[in-house]
Symmetry: C2
Subunit: 333 residues, 2 copies
């Protein structure tokens, strides 16, 4: 067994209380006591047991972070940002990748909440079913726009984001625009609405398809369905970058050229959109800063300075080569 505070106390000839205070730098000590303490700790190789401390103080210096899918670079970047701020404040991340356990989501989060000082939660749960998070007894920050909920949150304006994409495509002269979504995501509807709003102003209709998953593979699968079915679109707005990347790859396989035959857009601005060819036109949502801000809000709350309310990052259009003007009509119907 490793040495305890009692071993140190005995070796230094002081009481355990003194050792405790010394470790926590709680006060000043007489020179001889300090010297003996220092030496005893060094020779014994004593290291304080964080569990025992946490049990008393009720603080673990740990933040729980639940993420939908760490494989998605958007969430990877959220974690990166959150981790940076956490480390800076001497907190550590307890990570739970919900992806494959959606049914166990609530018990997983409840269990997690007992082991941390606070939580950052990304979840598929609709707002109406998220109220139990208030009873966790721990500060929570949601990764979404939860204006309706009395829980601090960080998100982006999805309606505006997709509106911007639609406008961009209209400006390029496209008239037949399709949306390739992911119906299981809460925000899918917001993104559809943003596109619809924009198209309606122009008197245009929107064809909506579903990719069944927010992944590149799902984008690949959906491509032929969208492009080779009736009403072939001139431009496709994808739910996210991964779907768009998969879509573009499959389009190439099918002999459909991007952007000449079809313009494609994503949302998220994951790093690999820039390394695809053509580069993916997308909306930057500042994933890493979202993680940073969520963690900052949580740490502020932990420090007694809660910042309730929703923080929304402003979307920014990133134009690359996957979108082009509809000028030259091609082999499309």
């Amino acid at each position: 067994m490793s040495p305890t505070i009692r071993d140190v106390a005995a070796a230094a000839g002081v009481s355990v209380a003194t050792v405790s205070k010394y470790i926590n730098g709680a006060q000043r000590f007489s020179a001889p006591v300090e010297a003996r303490l220092k030496e005893a700790i060094a020779t014994l190789g004593y290291r304080s047991n964080p569990l025992a401390r946490s049990m008393i103080t009720g603080r673990t210096r740990t933040i729980g972070l639940t993420i939908l899918d760490i494989s998605n670079p958007h969430f990877t970047n959220v974690v990166k940002g959150a981790n940076r701020i956490a480390l800076r404040h001497d907190y550590t991340l307890l990570l739970v990748d919900i992806d494959e356990q959606q049914a166990r989501e609530r018990p997983l989060i409840e269990a997690l909440s007992q082991r941390v000082d606070g939580l950052i939660v990304s979840s598929r749960l609709p707002d109406e079913e998220a109220h139990w998070m208030l009873d966790l007894g721990k500060p929570v920050v949601l990764l979404r726009n939860a204006e309706a909920l009395p829980i601090p949150s960080v998100g982006i304006d999805n309606r505006l984001a997709s509106h911007m994409l639609a406008r961009h495509l209209l400006n390029l002269g496209h008239r037949h625009i399709a949306y390739l979504g992911f119906g299981q995501a809460r925000i899918n509807d917001e993104r559809i609405r943003g596109v619809r709003e924009c198209l309606e102003e122009a008197g245009l209709e929107l064809d909506v398809h579903d990719a069944h998953a927010p992944t590149a593979l799902a984008g690949e699968h959906a491509c032929s369905r969208v492009m080779l079915g009736p009403k072939r679109p001139q431009a496709v707005i994808c739910y996210n970058d991964l779907i768009a990347l998969g879509f573009m790859k499959e389009a190439a396989t099918l002999g459909i050229r991007v952007p000449q035959d079809v313009s494609v857009t994503g949302i998220d601005n994951v790093p690999y959109g820039a390394y695809a060819a053509p580069g993916l036109t997308t909306i930057d949502i500042q994933s890493e800063r979202m993680g940073e801000l969520a963690m900052q809000k949580l740490i502020d709350a932990l420090a007694g300075h809660p910042d309730p309310g929703n923080s929304m990052f402003e979307p920014r259009l990133i134009v690359r080569e996957s979108t082009a003007s509809a000028a030259a009509p091609t082999a499309s119907a």
Copy 2:
């Protein structure tokens, strides 16, 4: 405050020991006791305090995972795999992204070790300086080939991996091959050796360049240096996929065509290599399975079935479009 085991005991009219045993499902109970227990727990909303339990049992059901950079999809996939196995065995991940704190690496890991049952460590430390990990008092699995160390480990055969790439390029008729590495990585030398071995058999020399970072951005920066300096190569073997992706993007910007003007390879088989254009020829190292196996080894060790020694995944060449035969000599010197 939330109810404790004592509150439950009082409410149910039994002793705390009985409550404890009930919670842990340690034995059978008489019907009336069980009923009262169940009700007391339900009405009080009692939930056992994992910290208090951990202090006694000495187990936290948490695994520490230190990763060099969660932004690198290779490591993301390692985390994904590790998380999957952990969740299956009811363990949670305590994640530390070392990236920005390389100097604090050792203290960070030492602190982490106190809060977990075991650790999976990915680190830049050379084998010679990793011995202190044996004194952590917790099982450790290293993410590397640590045959020299008495620590279980999971890795790939780097020499073989790069040898395979070199052979692939030789078979395509390339004679002037360059290596674009990342000198700060331990395994960089192994990868150079693999290429050199292969080239020496053919009586060829290798030009070695350095990207300064294992990132796509670093690959972009290095491209003109490699391609527009003296001795322009016909093929470039990159330290990893990210560097290769960056390299390819910058090559396109410079008007250098891949693979017609230069063949490019990576290592890792990150998902986005398949979505780049041209698709990136690379070595699959089974990142996700590495994470799974590392976690499995650790959990086995925790269960008293240690599997010491090094496990090596076999590299597999994935040929895509970024490599092609040197048949048609182009504008290269």
